[in-house]
Amino acid sequence: METRSLLTLEDVGREEIREILDLARAFAEGRFVDSLENKTVCLAFFEASTRTAVSFELAARRSGALVISLSEKGSAIVKGESLIDTVVTLDRLGADVIVLRHQAAGAAALASRHTSAPVINAGDGCGQHPTQALLDLYTLSDALGGFEALQGRRVAIVGDVLHSRVARSVIPGFLQAGMEISLVAPLTLLPPDADALGLRVLCSVDEALEWGADVIYMLRLQRERMTGALIPSVAEYARFYGVSRRHLVSGALVMHPGPVNRGVEISGDVVLDASSLIPDQVAAGVCVRSAVLALSTGAAQSVAA
């Protein structure tokens, strides 16, 4: 049975994305209920997480897997066990797949070099968060009439691109889907080579709408970025890089990987507005992660057969 790690979305081609989204749809429709029966899914979360951890756990359990959860509290992680030692232990205990969340970029790739079980990157530092990008593509395909309908659509990614693993995964994802991307952020929150990568840089959400954005993809501004060194104030940030009700008249869809800072990147009355896909993104997390677990363990082949 062929297994496969999911470390970065940079490695996932257009056809493979389509395959994952199709499989996720099947899971959403209630097929393959017991696809992970007799599989052991290990959730190794070295860093706190709510929605990612919960949706992976639900995805595994609903498919009939045995789930083992390690969090930073109550495991050898707090005793100072190294990343490699932890994943080697999980591997030898018989994990069929290891879902890893870690505070350092490259952690998932490092872990995968020391295990026979496939590793799914559930977020590594400022590196990658591939399942987030996949569930975003799933959500957007749903909203716009299918994966093919994403071709040529414009998405503005707004906020702290520099420190965002979500940005590093959704950018290749949106590009594979044939979307045009602009980045909307002050230069203090952008990688220095943003324009060298061929990505358009815009200065405000207003500019993004003038550019014709179909989708405004908001990134979370971490609290530690709000102290004045990188942006002067929440007021100025919200004024130029926040989405408020007045932006919705354009008809653009609003997305956010969560958790939302209401009043910072999104004004409170937008989060649950009809043009907001944020609740749909959360909902898509389970079926997309079921699909990823099934593909990475090889279980998808057996259910398809």
Partner: protein, 435 residues
């Protein structure tokens, strides 16, 4: 002065026009209409004429570095007295520095100052805002909101930056905000003295600040400007090495730099007087640095002159040098001092001086510094033959801390015109003369 009922047209006749920006250099007539330069030629006539035979006409001088002490220290200078001093020195545009009380670091202070400038200033005055809140080098100011409120550029002038990392982020954010940055380059871990750390300081027993305090900060600023792509102006360059560093980065960064009249004409020798009047920051340097800065200005490595006009109350200057406030008046003597010492001394062509006082800083602030037909009539009229002695009685500024008090100088601004309106007029009846 012009009478209100006169038409908006004026012909300045038989004046020697010198404008390196347009290449004009010769005796001609200039017609001003509706606040703009309407025509430059010969035999122009109009209902109102100024016979300027024997005078020189330059594009108005531009000073990107002025402390008008408003708000907070109006006892030293305010917008009226500061702009009158600027007009008396031939300046038609200035940039006001933000180290006031309160500090210009919030949109509400900026918009208040912009409104006051419109009402009270005789010359065009751009409001600069702080780069960091409270000039403290920690939290960035709301540069985009400051710009919307009318701020022209950002600067923590008076202070160097706390760290290179802080400065780099500030440059990046300023670039995003579309704000030029004016930098006072000084490393405070090195600049612990009150005068230049040289022979004069040693003999006098005064704590010195070495040239490296400026040079290392200038190098850091230039490297970061090149890396971030920010539009950076380095003000009051006072050492030969800093000038050379600016030259190295000329084509590698969007950077300009100025030096001051006092760093071009005075040296650390004045420290031996122990007179608080001569304390200034950056400090007066040895003649080798003065000469290096002069050469850099002559060769265009340093783009222009700015005065760092810094009025101080007498009780802040009439003190031992260690206790005195740093700073000199600058507006009223800038041209005359540079004309007397450098141009008449054969060390700087008059055309290069006008480039450095009008054209280059005018380009930097935008839309000023040239005599193009159609451009705003911002003009400076100078009598190059007039000799005068700088004295408390000749100064228009509310303060009198000029290092040139008692100096006999040659060349004097006799008229300053902003948008076609005379804002300084020592031409007697000639401005109002009719044909």
């Amino acid at each position: 002065m012009l009478r209100d009922n006169d038409s908006a047209e004026l012909v300045i006749r038989q004046v020697h026009v010198l404008d390196p920006a347009t290449g004009l250099d010769g005796t001609m007539d200039v017609r001003i209409s509706s606040g703009r330069i309407a025509e430059i030629g010969e035999q122009l006539r109009g209902p109102r004429e100024l016979d300027a035979d024997g005078l020189h006409l330059f594009p108005g001088f531009v000073d990107v570095h002025a402390h008008w002490r408003t708000p907070g220290r109006e006892d030293e200078e305010d917008i009226q007295s500061g702009s009158a001093a600027a007009a008396a020195g031939g300046f038609t545009s200035v940039v006001m520095m933000p180290n006031t009380d309160p500090i210009v670091d919030s949109p509400v202070v900026v918009s208040g100052l912009v409104r006051r400038v419109e009402r009270e200033s005789r010359v065009r005055a751009h409001v600069s805002a702080a780069l960091h809140v409270g000039l403290a080098g920690e939290r960035l100011t709301e540069m985009r909101l400051l710009k919307q409120a009318g701020a022209f550029c950002v600067s923590d002038d008076g202070l160097g930056t706390t760290s290179a990392g802080v400065l780099r982020n500030a440059m990046l954010y300023a670039r995003s905000a579309g704000m030029p940055v004016i930098l006072h380059c000084e490393d405070h871990t090195l600049a612990t003295g009150v005068v230049h750390d040289g022979v004069a300081a040693s003999l006098a027993g005064l704590p010195g600040s070495p040239a490296s305090a400026e040079d290392s900060a200038t190098a850091t600023a230039l490297i970061l400007a090149a890396e971030t792509g920010a539009k950076v102006h380095i003000t009051h360059v006072s050492t030969a090495l800093s000038a050379a560093l600016v030259g190295f980065f000329e084509d590698r960064a969007e950077v300009t730099a100025d030096t001051t009249p006092h760093h071009l004409t005075l040296t650390e020798d004045l420290v031996s007087t122990l007179d608080g009047l001569y304390r200034v920051n950056p400090p007066l340097r040895p003649d080798g640095d003065r000469g290096g800065v002069e050469r850099a200005l002559r060769e265009g490595v340093l783009d222009f002159v700015a005065t760092d006009h810094a009025p101080h109350a007498s009780e802040e200057k009439e003190l031992p040098i260690e206790e005195a406030a740093p700073g000199f008046l600058g507006h009223e003597t800038a041209f005359t001092v540079l004309y007397t010492d450098l141009v008449l001394g054969g060390r700087l062509p008059l055309g290069r001086l006008i480039q450095a006082m009008s054209c280059a800083p005018g380009r930097w602030v935008g839309g000023a510094g040239s005599l193009d037909v159609g451009a705003p009539a911002d003009l400076t009229l100078v009598d190059l033959s007039e000799e005068w002695t700088v004295g408390r009685g000749t100064l228009v500024s509310r303060s009198s801390n000029s290092p040139y008090l008692g100096r006999m100088l040659k060349g004097r601004v006799v008229g300053t015109i902003v948008g076609g309106e005379p804002v300084h007029d020592r031409t007697g009846a000639r401005f109002g003369a009719h044909a």
